[in-house]
Symmetry: C2
DNA sequence: ATTAACTGTTTATAGAATACGCAGATGCGA
DNA sequence: TCGCATCTGCGTATTCTATAAACAGTTAAT
């Protein structure tokens, strides 16, 4: 189902054309097409990215695109990797904890800046070069952490996954009441939720005390909580690993 | 952009029709429509869920659906909540750690069973009744944990978000080589990845030793690693909270 | 009885992805 | 240099898609 995978996807991701000999030199390139899609998504949202509009942007007929891209799904995969090129440079003088936190935060910021990223079908396809470079940066911050590579990969994946969720929350929050993002949630609870149907939730929520005017939030970064949770988990794992792992 | 939110979405999620007085009694119901969409998605994938096909399934004209549902986006939101009704009952005699782990695992299993769930546009909309009941179960397992409700909500959200990522990985793994899901990743690295461009990743991967035949995986649950990481993080947070929180 | 409100239908429109076949360009082998 | 295989881009056409708009029948309030 939904198999956008073609045997040429990965080469295309890496910009390796089969280098055909014969035939006219292509006037179009995959990079050009992806870039046009990127601009359209940026200006008008992902829904505006249609083959016809992309073709118009690069100045060719819609069907010409199919010579360079298997189908629209594949174009979107390429687009997702293109977006990863927008991830920023980060301070290299950070420990794994601060480094990974900044690494995570940068992903959230990117998604907030380009919310159409969240509309992309995020299949767990193989990463393209840009995304892989970002993963490499994650490994950089973990370079002095003594863990096997598959565990590092898992950690990096978990942190990135958390970034997606956090980005969703922040994007939605930006669209709703900036004062209290939980307002609608609470409103929904009191309006519809039967306390007998959701006893545990309601019982806990009953103790909820909205932050008074005197006390401020401990951090202005809404991802601070989850960030701390993840880093604490990683740290605990490292320590556990050191204990019973190879001591030398 | 992409604002599927209508003022009637939430009432519809909760099955509260405005109870119009006049006019003929509706032959269709929202539940009926959503159920039809559910069956189609289940049998033919989410891409097969079109207004026309849903209409055919319930035996009405396509446009009749729009009397009960604002548009297709809204139908998909309702569908997502409907899917949450398939989440299983869980053992109530578990501590927060095992309970939350089982709670997480159940979500992964559901997504693996119904992979079209991952194709749904997972906006961070307000949860419907079924999803809220699931959240309530998460709060059940956290009932004896002394944390404020907003932190519990954040924890539950983080764990659920992890479940989505894990489900993506497992679904994709099921479609690829069952022996070694990392095979294509490694293959991609050696084929395309320039060591100078991804030095940290490559350096770490160089130490990669695939699990030999003698040693088995510690767990047959591929989510065990992330699970442990999350639970350790939560535990650390609880302890930190107890230390400086109100002791009584 | 009148009327307002509500339901489902019919028709129509605009846009989507993409299969198929053609015309011209290009470079390889002869 | 002459074919010829191969490749690019284009034009056409098909099939689906969501959904706007107007309409006809049905019910309950007045």
């Amino acid at each position: 189902m939904m198999d956008a995978m073609s045997s040429d996807l990965i080469p295309r991701l890496w910009g390796k054309a089969p280098a055909g000999r014969r035939g006219p030199k292509p006037a179009l390139s995959v990079a050009q097409i992806v870039e046009a899609a990127y601009v359209i998504a940026d200006e008008q949202g992902l829904a505006a990215v249609s083959m016809a509009r992309v073709a118009e942007a690069v100045g060719c007929s819609p069907m010409a695109l199919y010579r360079h891209v298997k189908n629209k799904d594949e174009l979107l995969i390429l687009l997702a990797d293109r977006l990863c090129a927008d991830l920023p440079e980060l301070d290299r003088d950070l420990g794994w904890r601060e480094g990974l936190a900044a690494w995570m935060r940068a992903q959230v910021d990117l998604a907030v800046r380009k919310p159409w990223f969240l509309d992309l079908p995020l299949a767990a396809t193989l990463p393209g070069p840009n995304r892989l470079a970002w993963i490499d940066l994650g490994f950089y911050y973990l370079r002095e952490v003594a863990l096997p590579p598959d565990e590092k990969l898992a950690i990096v994946g978990i942190v990135a996954q958390y970034a997606v969720g956090e980005a969703r929350i922040e994007v939605e929050a930006a669209l709703s009441d900036p004062d209290n993002p939980y307002a609608s949630f609470e409103q929904m609870l009191v309006t519809y939720a039967d306390p007998e149907r959701f006893p545990n939730l309601m019982a806990s929520m009953a103790t909820w005390r909205p932050a008074g005017p005197g006390e401020e939030l401990e951090s202005d970064d809404p991802s601070a909580f989850g960030q701390g949770l993840l880093m604490a988990g990683i740290e605990a794992h490292i320590e556990r690993h050191l204990e019973r792992g190879t001591p030398k």
